[in-house]
Symmetry: C2
Subunit: 134 residues, 2 copies
Amino acid sequence: MELGIGQVAERTGMSVHALRLYEREGLMPGPVRRDAGGRRVYTEWDVEWLHYCTKFRASGMPLATIRKFADLVRRGPETEAERLELLREHQEQVVARIAELNECLEVIASKVRVYGEHVARGSAAELWSHPAAT
Amino acid sequence: MELGIGQVAERTGMSVHALRLYEREGLMPGPVRRDAGGRRVYTEWDVEWLHYCTKFRASGMPLATIRKFADLVRRGPETEAERLELLREHQEQVVARIAELNECLEVIASKVRVYGEHVARGSAAELWSHPAAT
DNA sequence: CTAGGACCTAGACCGGGGTCTAGGTCAACT
DNA sequence: AGTTGACCTAGACCCCGGTCTAGGTCCTAG
């Protein structure tokens, strides 16, 4: 199954611009094939790769890291241990990020609780008013 | 307790540049007080505010939203319901973001698992090699 | 023949969130 | 008096990750 860039854009949710960018920036393991007219021809495999890329991006992996990963894939099977390494590292970062968000969430939730009670009770005390206003 | 900008930077983990930026951009509810020489004088209250700001930022709230919140605080106690609204919205977004990260994490974890087993077994099949390489 | 649509490249532009520089003021030590 | 160090403003700069434009090619349908 071969797809044009527009179809890939639809399937992956990326823009055609972004797809071209990814290729230019070396984020595809190997340059995308072209037809006689110079147009990109994507395979299922490419689409799968892009699918993973979007997950990587959505989880905060910078393009530079995706590029590294793509380089490893390009360099063949002997780099598999390194790829594993890279993925593990990212995995840890995501876990850490989730933990961070959960901490923030507690802080936010506590403010929400306080504001909630307060507003429900029809504002007796002013909470978090600027001191200059009092 | 009154603090200079440098001390606030230390206590909040922000840079002095960032602190000035936040003020310029209207992220403080009201301009920071100044001493005779025009230097910023922060109160405990300001520091607490900044503490919340860093949590908001760390959880992905854009500066524009912090500005909105600051505006509400500036406008006094009658905006408390709106503030609650804003916080609740952000809270939801954080929850959603965590969910998204968890989804990504599953995908990543599955790749890690596959690579892990694979590498452990000493690469029999090549997984995720670029088709052009075979 | 012409128009439309999908594609191409190179490169400009954008928004977010800072960070840093230049040039200056002020207060305190030595 | 001189130097240091913390601070001030205005504005330039930077990185990231795209997005958009200009100008061109190619194919297909009317």
